[in-house]
């Protein structure tokens, strides 16, 4: 099944489960969890079901398009449900069927893998799901977000779309994946990988990134303190991405790293606090 069809099938499947099919958020981010639909969405008591594709950037993982398994920008398919249905595991397994993966003909295992995001102040308990030993999904029951204990709990299901497509199309090289019947992944994104690897590892302006970080951080604090937590959170995401590029660029010392992570976590916390306060009376 081509990658585009996998997305369409998943959209269709999760829409039937009652999920709002949300669109990707238009800012750089390290993972689908950063999308405000998830970040803010899991904080309040109100039930929620959402699913969306999220292009995610991990500057350090770039390999100039040379490595058949690595990308600096890839696509997650993310499902967030609060509270989780009792048979959510089986609902997830059934979603694999729509991609033509029949459990009885494959080995599916759930390997303990608790998740933590130091920059979001978030943590969860869950698994990597292995399909014939290939990790295709991260399945997590969030316990904390932005240092808040969550109640009710949300489940987050994150599919690695490229992995699924490689599996489905029996490809050993990401760039050989068919996006649709006419276009390959390589045609669409290989050049991007080359150029962004150059940017992230060699060319990104360190001084500018550090200034951006500080200025965005400053304004985020100011906005959040005046209850404008939504734009404040956008700025926090920009800080997070700047940090990731600086890290890939090798511009962060060990002690700096700890303090920068804490600064981003503090931003997440104040945005979340302002949001929770604002939604207190619903």
């Amino acid at each position: 099944m081509n990658l585009q069809d996998i997305i369409l099938q998943l959209d269709h499947y999760w829409a039937k489960q009652g999920c709002a099919i949300v669109q990707p958020y238009d800012l750089e981010k390290g993972a689908g969890t950063f999308n405000p639909a998830t970040f803010f969405g899991v904080l309040t008591p109100r039930p929620m079901k959402a699913a969306y594709v999220e292009p995610s950037r991990r500057p350090s993982d770039g390999r100039y398009g040379d490595n058949p398994n690595r990308l600096s920008r890839f696509h997650q398919y993310q499902v967030v449900i609060k509270p989780p249905m009792k048979d959510i595991q089986q609902i997830y397994l059934n979603s694999l069927k729509v991609m033509g993966i029949n459990h009885s003909e494959h080995d599916i295992r759930w390997i303990e893998d608790d998740w933590e995001s130091p920059t979001l102040g978030a943590s969860g308990v869950g698994w990597e799901v292995w399909l014939d030993a290939m990790e295709i999904t991260q399945f997590t029951y969030f316990q904390q977000m932005a240092s808040f204990e969550l109640n009710p709990i949300s489940v987050e299901i994150t599919y690695g779309l490229e992995r699924l497509a490689m599996f489905s199309q029996k490809k050993k090289n990401i760039f050989d994946i068919k996006w649709n019947d006419d276009v390959t992944y390589g045609e669409m994104f290989k050049k991007r990988e080359e150029q962004f690897s150059y940017y992230n590892f060699e060319a990104a302006d360190i001084g500018k990134l550090k200034r951006d970080f500080t200025e965005n951080e400053k304004q985020a604090h100011d906005l959040a303190s005046r209850k404008y937590y939504i734009p404040a959170y956008d700025l926090a995401m920009k800080c997070s991405h700047a940090f990731n590029v600086l890290d890939a660029r090798g511009a962060i010392s060990v002690s700096e790293r700890v303090s920068l992570i804490k600064r981003i976590r503090d931003l997440s916390k104040i945005c979340a606090s302002a949001y929770v306060k604002d939604n207190h009376h619903e």
């Binding site: 490595n67 058949p68 398994n69 509270p83 989780p84 009792k86 048979d87 595991q89 089986q90 397994l93 029949n102 459990h103 009885s104 003909e105 494959h106 080995d107 599916i108 295992r109 759930w110 303990e112 608790d114 308990v125 698994w127 399909l131 014939d132 030993a133 290939m134 029951y141 316990q143 109640n151 009710p152 709990i153 599996f167 050993k172 010392s253 060990v254 002690s255």
Partner: protein
């Protein structure tokens, strides 16, 4: 299952169905379930034949064989006020007897009188028990579930019940009866589910006794032992087919056992070129990451095959085998890419990157740490005066022990840090001895694992460990309870084990004094040296205690030598003393000697007698004091030579010989006499005796 069981004895069953519980949680959970069940069943007087527990990744099962239908009947006696208070002078029941009767839910006319040694009392006899046991299970089962402890727990539903993973089903049966209870939003029933690979179909279990069979028919082997037998058979028949041997170590077997409900092996091969990778890396990828069994030939060399285990079904074997192979090869390919890249970098260039890696704030870079290790090795070598030590190789090796820290491969496979250095050194054609020293630098990796072998590797390993401990203590890193982020305990333990195994006798205090000078100035300024060294000695002693205890020595013997170690800083010598003490202890006179020593020490507590005070023999009055002091002097003159030659056993044996004269002294001589001069003189005799004893060990620590 049901053979010959009387109708009133049925099996009882609790199945907790969980979303994939981690394999490493299961064994402990089973043990806890059994223990809590046994305790509670006995408390409630419920009899049964036996209790078993089982586990898979999605169920924890408690099984009670042949449980009595009713709780045990017993008569209990409740005792009340004195029998005199039953009736007043007018023959009427008193308020006290009414009160007691009421509290026992009866009337005063039913009260009895019992005789006790303390007098006669009012009493009520009551029969308890005889209740349906299944009713009690409805309390015990949820109690068991809520008492289970796990390394990590979570919440998932609105009651916020904490458990390892979400509970999705509860089955509780006694015979055919459902034990009714509710927990974490789940109601106990007679339903469970079959194999995941077949869609986890819901099934009804008619009776507890039919549970295992019902599931087995659906390819779920609940009993661990039986599943393990199948797993072993799968692996051995796969090995046989290949005419090779599978490496089935216990940990990997256990992990696989709890990852499946019905083990089915998947055998495949991979490209031979990947066997050029270091064997540790192959093991890491295959065993730790993918849970595959590796395969060896008769010479113990790896062969390019794997045995994977899948859950429950042998449909689509080719899919699974291809999938396993692809993932394995992709990981190998990644590793090989980085490994080759690292091998192409000149070793000194790679090692140079240590200058950019901070060891710890205030303690400089890893390069600085290497320099200290080199210096510390030199101090050790000077102090130990090892004749055959190849100093040049020792120092050279210490420069490269961390060379892999900056390698690409270790960045990707962090678990290989400390292992790859050897391969890079070998690739750079460093001498065999140097490579081996680098390889063994981190040893021992655990409490019981192998130690560095040669003098060279032992020295460098000691230097690395003591640097980590010394420098961490010097910047104020403290180890508390479970918090030991820098693994200082492991370092100190390894340090103690190497010293003892290599029989290195040296004064650690003298070493620390010299080593301290190599710390950065700002760190030195902040430390009170004596206090710092004391803390480090204390810390190393604590670890060494565990090593001594493991060798079979008693804690009081170990403690008796602690003050000697804190004074001398010589761990090896301390160990010899413990050993001698342990041997001497078997002497029948030893215990009373230790007791006399304790007595002597106590007598001296309130006095100001100094070690240098010598008794005046002219003041001796009693034969017993003359005799004792004569023996003390004789032993004293021999002590120096014996202790210098480390003849502790001989010395201790001589000490024991002093016992008759010591007994004579304590029996016949009054110490605390009125004449101050005589009193002080006798205290001096005791002091000289204590000094003599203390040369061996602090015998007051010995538990008599």
């Amino acid at each position: 299952m049901n053979k010959n069981k009387p109708a009133n004895k049925r099996d009882a069953l609790l199945e907790i169905r969980i979303e994939n519980i981690p394999a490493r949680f299961i064994i402990s959970a089973k043990r806890q379930m059994e223990k809590i069940a046994i305790d509670n069943l006995s408390k409630l007087g419920i009899k049964y034949e036996s209790i078993e527990s089982f586990g898979t990744y999605k169920r924890l099962v408690l099984y009670i064989n042949a449980m009595e239908a009713k709780t045990e009947e017993k008569t209990v006696m409740a005792t009340g006020p004195s029998a005199k208070l039953l009736k007043d002078e007018k023959g009427k029941y008193t308020p006290q007897s009414f009160g007691f009767a009421k509290s026992q839910k009866t009337t005063p006319d039913k009260l009895k009188v019992i005789n006790t040694p303390k007098g006669d009392f009012l009493a009520v006899e009551r029969k308890i028990g005889g209740e349906p046991a299944s009713k009690k299970l409805a309390e015990i089962f949820p109690h068991i579930i809520s008492k289970l402890q796990f390394p990590k727990t979570m919440v998932w539903e609105k009651e916020r019940f904490r458990f390892a993973r979400p509970i999705r089903g509860l089955m509780a049966l006694h015979g055919e009866k459902i034990i009714t209870f509710k927990l974490a939003g789940v109601k106990a029933a007679r339903k469970t589910v079959g194999l995941s690979a077949k869609g986890s179909k819901e099934i009804t279990v008619k009776t507890a006794e039919k549970y295992f069979k019902t599931l087995e028919n659906l390819n779920v082997i609940v009993k661990d032992e039986k599943r393990l037998a199948i797993l072993n058979k799968e692996i051995s028949s796969a090995s046989k087919r290949m005419k090779l041997t599978a490496n089935s170590d216990k940990e990997l077997l256990e992990e696989n056992l709890y990852l499946v409900e019905y083990p089915v092996s998947v055998v495949g091969g991979f490209s031979k070129e990947f066997l050029d990778l270091p064997v540790e890396l192959v093991h890491l990828v295959m065993k730790s990451q993918l849970k595959f069994f590796t395969v060896e030939n008769s010479k113990g060399e790896l062969e390019p095959y794997f045995i994977g285990i899948r859950d429950g079904i042998s449909k689509g074997q080719k899919n699974v085998r291809d999938g396993f192979k692809n993932v394995l090869e992709a990981r190998f390919k990644d590793a090989l890419f980085f490994y080759k890249k690292d091998l192409s970098v000149p070793l000194d260039l790679m090692n140079d990157k240590l200058k950019d890696i901070i060891f710890h704030q205030g303690l400089g870079t890893m390069h600085d740490k290497c320099l200290r290790i080199r210096e510390f090795s030199a101090i050790f070598s000077k102090m130990l005066n090892l004749e055959k030590l190849n100093k040049e190789e020792t120092f050279k090796a210490s420069e490269y022990v961390y060379c892999d820290l900056a390698s690409e491969l270790v960045k990707e496979f962090t678990e290989l840090q400390g292992i790859m250095a050897y391969y890079y050194a070998k690739n750079a054609k460093l001498s065999k001895g140097i490579c081996k020293t680098i390889k063994e630098f981190y040893w021992p990796l655990s409490f019981s694992s192998a130690l560095p072998v040669s003098d060279e590797s032992s020295l460098v390993s000691l230097a690395g460990k003591i640097d980590t401990v010394l420098s961490s203590f010097a910047v104020g890193i403290v180890v508390t309870g479970s918090a030991d982020p820098y693994g200082l305990r492991r370092h100190a333990m390894g340090f103690a084990r190497i010293i003892l195994a290599k029989k290195f006798s040296l004064n650690l205090k003298v070493f620390l004094k010299e080593a301290f000078e190599f710390l950065p100035e700002i760190v030195k300024e902040k430390n009170d040296k004596e206090k710092l060294f004391g803390n480090i000695l204390e810390f190393i002693w604590q670890r060494a205690e565990a090593v001594f205890a493991e060798s079979g020595y008693k804690f009081d013997e170990i403690r008796a030598v602690k003050s000697y170690f804190m004074e001398s800083g010589d761990l090896m010598n301390a160990a010899q003393r413990i050993k001698s003490l342990n041997v001497m202890r078997k002497n029948p006179d030893f215990d009373s000697l230790a007791a006399s020593f304790k007595r002597a020490k106590n007598i001296l507590k309130q006095t100001a007698i100094k070690e240098t005070d010598i008794p005046n023999e002219a003041l001796f009055e009693e034969a017993a004091e003359k005799e004792l002091y004569k023996n003390i002097k004789t032993l004293s003159s021999m002590a120096e030579v014996m202790l210098k030659n480390n003849d502790y056993s001989v010395y201790l044996a001589e000490l024991v010989k002093i016992k008759p004269s010591l007994d004579g002294f304590f029996d016949n001589v009054m110490v605390m006499v009125k004449d101050e001069k005589i009193k002080e003189n006798r205290l001096k005799i005791i002091k000289s005796l204590v000094v003599l004893f203390a040369k061996a060990a602090d015998l007051s620590q010995i538990q008599v």
